[in-house]
């Protein structure tokens, strides 16, 4: 088997914030490589810097120093426009609070990334349907998020993250607002998605037990530093 290039490579990445006089190192000199096709869980207590690290990989934030290389592209060297394109085409994102737009139906929510990517209207309906089928919500296509359970909302968010066929799926505490049974179902879905060839998943969580069951590898953070990094099972 030929070795694929890593999906994500972090090289001495730091992100600092200035709060008045003091400087806070949210991420401090983290180096990490995520091979293509891996399901990595980023663990850590709150304030450990795991979400900041995820935002850096997502291209929502830029590192103060170091390099974030995803799919062979150095994000820190990208123009804002190229970074927006990267967020649109290369990564999909899922949040703890789902972040669906409440006034839009499921169809419209899932269609949003396709609009941003200027995908033809004729193609959109098919792709939205496919994505919703994949998360088992094709029958709720005309509903609004408020008419759905938490688990269903998170599945919709996953469909939205996948609709542009990204190579990397980033999930920030995807089970944080869900009961344990629903959380497990969501993680099983992510595991299912991981089976797609070339799909890499990075998930931030503080539920170690779930992470151990579903992820391939665990990376534990504390005070902005990478504390441990090893296989889950």
């Amino acid at each position: 088997m030929t070795e694929l290039p890593p999906a994500i490579r972090l090289e001495s990445v730091s992100r600092q914030y200035t709060m008045g006089e003091s400087v806070i190192w949210a991420v401090n000199d983290v180096s990490l490589t995520v091979p293509t096709g891996e399901f990595l869980a980023l663990l850590g207590s709150s304030g450990s810097g795991k979400s900041t690290l995820l935002n850096l990989i997502a291209g929502l934030d830029r590192p103060s120093s170091g390099a974030v290389v995803a799919q062979g592209q150095d994000l820190s060297k990208m123009s804002p426009l190229a970074l927006a394109r990267y967020r649109r085409q290369t990564v999909g994102m899922v949040f703890q609070s789902f972040n669906l737009l409440p006034r839009m139906t499921l169809e419209e929510n899932v269609e949003l990334p396709l609009r941003l990517a200027e995908v033809d209207r004729s193609e959109r309906a098919t792709r939205v349907r496919e994505a919703l089928q994949r998360v088992g919500l094709e029958k709720r296509i005309g509903h609004r998020p408020s008419e759905l359970s938490g688990g269903e909302q998170q599945r919709t968010a996953i469909a939205r993250a996948l609709v542009n066929r990204p190579k990397i799926l980033l999930a920030d505490e995807p089970t944080g607002n869900l009961d344990s049974a629903t959380g497990e179902a969501i993680l099983a879905l992510l595991r299912e998605i991981q089976k797609n060839p070339g799909m890499t998943i990075v998930m931030v969580t503080h539920e170690r037990a779930l992470a151990e069951r579903f992820a391939d590898r665990l990376a534990v953070m504390g005070d902005g530093k990478l504390l441990s990094n090893g296989a889950a099972r």
């Binding site: 929502l60 934030d61 426009l81 394109r85 967020r87 649109r88 972040n99 609009r115 941003l116």
Partner: protein, 447 residues
Amino acid sequence: MKLRDLSDLAFRNLREAVLRNSLTTLGVAVGVASLVAMLSLGVGLQQLASSRLAKSGLFDSIFVTPKTNLRGPGGGPPATRAPASKARLLDADARAEISRMPNVIEVYPQIRFFTEVRYDGKPYATMVAGMPESSKSSGAFDGMQGHFFSSPDADETILQAEFAKELSPQTSSLLGKDLILRYAERQSLAAQAGDAAANSGGFSVVPKEKHFLIIGVVETEPASGFGGFGSGRLLIPLPIAETLRAAQVNDLRDILRGSSSDKPTYSSLTVRVKSPSLVEATEAKLKDLGFSVFSLLDASKSLRIFFSVFDLLLGIFGSLALAVATLGIINTLVMAILERRREIGVLKALGAADRDVKQLFFVEAGVMGLFGGVFGTLLGWLIGRSLTLGTNIYLHRQNLPGVDISSVPWWLVLGGIGFAVAVSLAAGLYPASRAARLDPVQALRYE
């Protein structure tokens, strides 16, 4: 994002805060309405004034007189006097030549003479004036008692109101009555006694009478030009006045100048051209023909300048409300940013570029401007109409004819809408760039 998707999302966002956005749009509409109403008033008054003036014949008329000095040989400063060779007699030939010139609609002489009329057996002395057919549309005959001459060669007369009161205090009772005009007809001696008399250039004066039917009473004689000798109090059709060949004031002067011939000569002719813009060129041509000319063109130029300044001032006052509406748009959109912070964060996380967010807010501002512009223009038009209506009710009570004081031409409709959109887009600049600059990490953390 494609424009269709942008406007789709923009409309959706506007519908979400429908009350706030409607109020903002209404603000724009009121601003545009005040601007459109003000300008429609300016345009309407200008149109009213210029149509009245155009109808009066003052600005499309040239008054032609012979260059031979009226004060007789030797009178007037030599510099202003035309060389004798170039001076021409203003006679029937000249009249025909002028009427053949391009852009000339009408050439007519001033015929007015002092004479006696008999009504109800009593004599009255008065000034008779010939009215060209075109004076019908001058506006002076609007709202008259009775009607204008039924044809240019009808034996009919219109009386000036004060003179009519002399004839009968109840002026309306005069209509349909008969009136006898007694005048002195000028008969050229040449026509009667052959060549010898013709060389003498003399004429005899024969008393004549003619019956006229009174068909109308008018407040004042229409502005009938210059060079008249007092205003006419008894108006008859000009062709009829010409056939009377009544002795006029300048006849004797013609004799003294030795220029008498069988053909009539005129002390002045009024030349009407198609539009005031043609006056200058026609004037120059008439000068080349060897006549003195005079027109009120300069007065019409200053009128245009006056109305430009007037419109500008009205526009500035009208724009004040729109300036306030601009602040409303900025306020609404800045509020929308606060409210939709998280949504902007989500859009950015899903791959929206700063440009997409900026355009979205821009389109929202533009849509509010467009709707405000359309409603405002409609509202402005309605305000103009009601002002016209109110004015006309007032004028009607004063027994005056109605006027149209407001006018909304196409350029004002398009300009009103275009201005509203432009101003709204300008107002959207700051909120749009602020929304675009929003840090997605901060925005997503915002609850």
